[in-house]
Amino acid sequence: MLRKIEDWVNERWPLPDVVHLALDEEIIGGARIAYTLGSAVLIVFTLQALSGIVQLFFYVPTTDHAYDSISYLRTKVPFGWLAHCLHYWGAQVMVILVLLHITRVFLWGAYKKPRELTWLAGVTLLLITMGFSFTGSPLHWDQRGFWIGEVSTSVAATVPLVGDFIKHLMRGGEEMGQLTLSRLFVMHTAVLPVTLIALFGIHIIAMRRFGSVGPWDEKRRLQKGLFWPDQTFKDTLVGTTIVVALIALAVFLPPRYTGPADPLDISYIPKPEWNFLFLYESLKYFHGRLEPVGTVGVPTVLILILVLLPFIDRNSERNPLKRPVAVTGALILAGIIVAMSIKGYLSPGFAQPPVSPKPAASQERSVPRGYGMNMPFTGISEASPAPPESAARTSSPPSAETNPQDATDKGLPGQAAIIIGGAERGDPLFQKNCSPCHGPSGRSVLPNPGSAEGKVPSLNPIDRDNYSPDAHVFAEKIDRYIQHGSVPAGSHPVITMPAFGDTNTLTQPEIANIEAYILRLNGVDRGQVIHPGIEPQRFFLLVVVSFGLVALLLAGLWNKRQSRTG
């Protein structure tokens, strides 16, 4: 039956040829771990495609909800955290693997005739990978991604003559905004994937045409291996190791929340992704009229070197020890890039304190995201099945519409309460706005004569009435104080809590960040996963145990076979 189906298909479609193209290749010198890098890139790309598609079911590319949709995916969708964090780490690892692959190909001299086209397609694939990296981070529309987008599109504007046009094209207008996000989104999820797959086709067909280049040593070339299954086995081993490592990264080092994009937060010092750090650093050396040398010249020269390499270096020698000029040149170039990346990494960035005070609060401040205006919920109602306690205390006035002033003593939670802020971003904001009264880390509080308590309430630990192990509930409780301020009980309290939200002293993203920080002071993670599917750490354990069992099983099988043949 199976045979019949196979024949039927074969008559109409060249299945054997395709299988042959995919699998049948003699590996000169035998299969090697060093040759697994290309397959590893393909495996990680597949993982990126799958985790990306999962994210597309939940993500929306709109400036007002992109950030919240990712927060929702990460905390409330079973295994949404896995899809998102794998995608994040997969992106980093994919860049590393592409670079390792290109290094391996260079050392083996595999770019030389007749493999120039394989190399050129590969260089283009490297650029596409960088393009993915470039268009990916702003999609989150968080503080980090927004500023990466802002600065890198500004870099494009320094291109002589056509710079403004390019920037306009990338942003879809003058300012970073909805059209920018839409453009980056379409590039990241439609244009680049299709281009990558097309070029991958060219790359792999060109590669199979002449096979892998094999060892340069003539004696070792006498050995023969097969792509299927010898090399494929090693590819699978390496691929599996990478998948397990990525899961470990996703579980133990999930990307941090940096709070929603906030163009008004000038304390944020943006830095590019690590793989663009060398370019970022190189910009520092060119000023004024020379600026385009850094922004355009350096990347253009690097790309030209890669593109022209097989045409400049036409010597057929492949042993790296006998190619001193090429190898030394590459080492120097790589050394410069690595050194500049490290320098860029170490240069003050995220951790630097605010450079200048924020502009005075005014009603005119607005944030494109839609959080700039303080919009406390009117007539809120708690989603609680049993109203008597929680709802009655925190809930709304009889009719919020007719009687807005009567909104209990503290008013209702604002927009910030539903945003998952970044505790790291909240830290400096807290030190600046809250610690004067609540003390650094919310601990050493000022005396407050005239108040019933006699001192400003401690936030670390916070009083039990305002605490909740549920991050969302906790945030809502403290949000009401930060939005609307508070007058402590007592005859004439000297210090009262200002209404940071109502007066627009702080933007909603800033308040969300401060809340995340206060939650962390009290041991609650604002980004706690509510519906994990399986708890991340337990999931990792499951993965390790599964692969451990399979390894044992395979070892047993191997031994049995060996003893039978031996």
Partner: protein, 184 residues
């Protein structure tokens, strides 16, 4: 990577017979299949799970519709109250309106403001002490019964709770135009 001597491969032709190579390759194919399958399983199940899971069933939302004291007794009154609706990552504030008739300090009737005929908003006519719908002239008594007109069922009453002197209402919508009360 440069060390050609430290090669990982075991394919030297003098190492074993054809038979041995065949066995080894059979094993490699099995190992590839098993590992690939396990990778697919460990990632495929979570990813599919993310897609087939439906968001946690929404708990009934009780909204504070005001103080009991402010309601007149025996007299229908239109009460408006705000509530926050949650749809995945969209939070919206909406204003609901219901008809409330207070019978005693702990007993009320709450009617949905929507006429069960075709979804119009009916009104209270003080003169005849009836609810009347302006669209198709259905008339309902104070307890919601259909007295006249095309309405297929009585007015829809909504669940309520009274706690700490405040009225809590769970707002719901029902299918119109059918004799049964079907929640939508």
């Amino acid at each position: 990577m440069l060390d050609e001597e430290g090669d990982m491969n075991e394919d030297s032709p003098d190492k074993g017979s054809e038979q041995e190579a065949a066995t080894r390759r059979w094993f490699l194919k099995v190992a590839i299949g098993v590992m690939a399958f396990l990778n697919g399983l460990l990632l495929g199940i979570p990813f599919i799970n993310a897609l087939i899971s439906s968001p946690a069933k929404k708990k009934p939302q009780w909204s504070n519709a005001g103080e009991m004291n402010s309601l007149p007794e025996g007299q229908p009154i239109q009460v408006k109250f705000g509530a926050r609706t949650e749809d995945a990552y969209h939070y919206e504030n909406v204003l609901y309106s219901v008809w409330v008739i207070k019978h005693s300090a702990d007993k009320v009737t709450v009617f949905s403001p929507i006429c069960p005929h075709l979804g119009c908003h009916y009104l209270w006519n003080q003169e005849i002490e009836r609810f009347t719908c302006p669209c198709h002239a259905s008339v309902f008594s104070l307890d919601g019964k259909v007295l006249y007109g095309p309405a297929p069922r009585p007015l829809d009453s909504l669940p309520y709770k009274i706690a700490d002197g405040a009225l809590f209402v769970r707002y719901e919508r029902f299918k119109v135009g059918v004799p049964e009360q079907i929640s939508v």
